[in-house]
């Protein structure tokens, strides 16, 4: 479903700040694969997701989704195939717009925007049901501004928006990292449930090793712009936090493993 081949990306080439962020990355996700991605700060995890989404253009390599080449498409045209949730809860929603208006923008992802009414009554009913399934009481606040919601509520809403049209690939970039542990667990549970129920193909970056082991059917470890571990099926089931830390420290690198990652 997602095929990344020999992807390389260098930031600020030819300057003192030159940084090889992705170094010949290959990654293939079958339909329904749910891969978690871990790695130290600066390993290139976000850059990988951003290259897939078209935020950055890669220097080399190709990206295909469902067999379709994305390389030449700008970010907004790739969006019809992708759902995205970001680390920053403020990033995925429009704060000054209502909950239902945000959902309506997401429902029309990949469609032409016309002069038809922005939110129709039939949609509203659908949104009500969807919001109810989050169990956060948002279904009674549909015409409130998103800016009034808490970080966790905004992330749950962004998740709903990202999955609304059953995207071919769902990209989650540390989407629970900015939340308190309880809310983070809730958002992770919701994500897992959506991915399972809809059979989504998903790439989820996380700093939390337990989450990385607990969720998904594949685990990918990155370091210095490379994939250094790709465990699937039984191999993944056998992974432990201690085992991962060991693998990680074998990798000679200037990346620091922070506390967040060890204890998560």
């Amino acid at each position: 479903m997602l095929n990344v081949d020999h992807l390389s990306k260098t930031f600020n080439p030819g300057t003192v700040n030159e940084k090889l962020a992705l170094d010949d990355v290959c990654l293939h996700l079958a339909p329904g694969d749910f891969a978690t991605v871990i790695g130290g700060n600066g390993a290139g995890k976000s850059t990988l997701l951003n290259c897939v989404a078209g935020v950055y253009r890669q220097d080399q390599g190709s990206i295909r989704v469902n067999g379709m080449m994305l390389d030449r498409l700008p970010e907004y045209k790739r969006a019809r195939h992708l759902g995205r949730v970001f680390q920053d809860p403020l990033m995925g929603t429009a704060a000054d717009m209502e909950i239902e208006e945000n959902l309506a923008l997401a429902l029309r992802r990949g469609k032409r925007r016309t002069l038809a009414w922005g939110v129709t009554p039939q949609e509203r009913e659908r949104y009500h049901g969807m919001l109810k399934s989050l169990g956060l009481g948002l279904e009674d606040r549909m015409s409130q501004k998103v800016g009034l919601l808490s970080g966790g509520q905004r992330q749950a809403l962004t998740l709903l928006m990202a999955t609304i049209g059953t995207p071919k690939v769902l990209l989650l970039d540390e989407h629970a990292a900015a939340l308190d542990p309880k809310t983070a667990r809730k958002v992770m549970e919701l994500s897992n449930q959506f991915i399972k129920d809809m059979g989504l193909t998903c790439l989820m970056v996380t700093h939390n090793m337990r989450h990385a082991i607990q969720y998904g059917n594949r685990l990918i470890m990155m370091s210095q712009g490379r994939v250094i571990l790709d465990a699937a099926g039984e191999e993944k089931q056998k992974l432990t936090v201690e085992g991962l830390i060991q693998r990680f420290s074998q990798q000679r690198s200037d990346e620091v493993m922070n506390d967040r990652m060890l204890l998560g």
Binding site: A94, A104, K111
Partner: protein, 302 residues
Amino acid sequence: MEQVLLGALSLGLLWSIMALGVYITYRILNIADLTVEGTLTLGAAVTAQMIYAGQSPFLGMMLSFGAGLLAGLATGLLHTKLKIPALLSGILTMIALYSINLRVMGKANLSLLRLGTAYTVIGEWLGLDKTWAVIAAGAVMSLALVFILYWFFGTELGSAIRATGNNPNMVRAQGIHTDTTVILGLMVSNGLVALSGSLIAQSQNYADVQMGVGAIVIGLASLIIGEVLFARNNFLSRLLSMILGAVSYRIIIALVLRLGMPADDLKLFTALTVVVALFLPRLKEMRDTARHVTKGSHHAER
């Protein structure tokens, strides 16, 4: 005095259409667009030249609106395609428009005295004198535009424009080309400003190449006065508050002039009003934080 207030009312109604345009860029798109200084004059120049050439003033108004759309397009292309910062893009178009406006008019000032304007026609229809014809036309136009804008920004396309000013990242992630929405917003805004310029020129019976100087500040002053005094927490009320704000601004100006302020100081006065109004929310914030700190309560930013 009554005459003064009526004059302020009619001027306020005509300028409120420009305030609506400023609202679209400044509040919805989150861009301070200086193009409007040139666009206001452009609208005046096009209509004046059309009337001068013996054409219908209504046709002139439509052409003015169209010319405004093009001016907005120019700024939008500079900003989105050439990646020139919005403020500078606006300034560049504004400067270019100065020459274009001179070309359209053929000279620095075009008089419409004794030529039929839209108000002459409307006045004849309704049996009103000039002052009341201007007020009637201004009120109907500004109200109609408020409702059209309310509808437009409720559509799929309008929602996309609103979201762009809010969070362009999210808008792109939802499959919308933010270049297009920014350009569209700038076009609609400048179309309205040009229409306002057309109506103003007809009411004062001349178009002048200097007309637009300081227009952005007048627009902002009207916007802020409208929001502070009249706006409630919904979109329709915020649009309506632009009309009330523009009229209030004109009444305030008329009053301070009557109280003896020299007309030459007007722009200084307006600029200071905007400075104070822009600073007020900050002042309130600072006072609130000071209060929290003294109470010893901890409030995280945002």
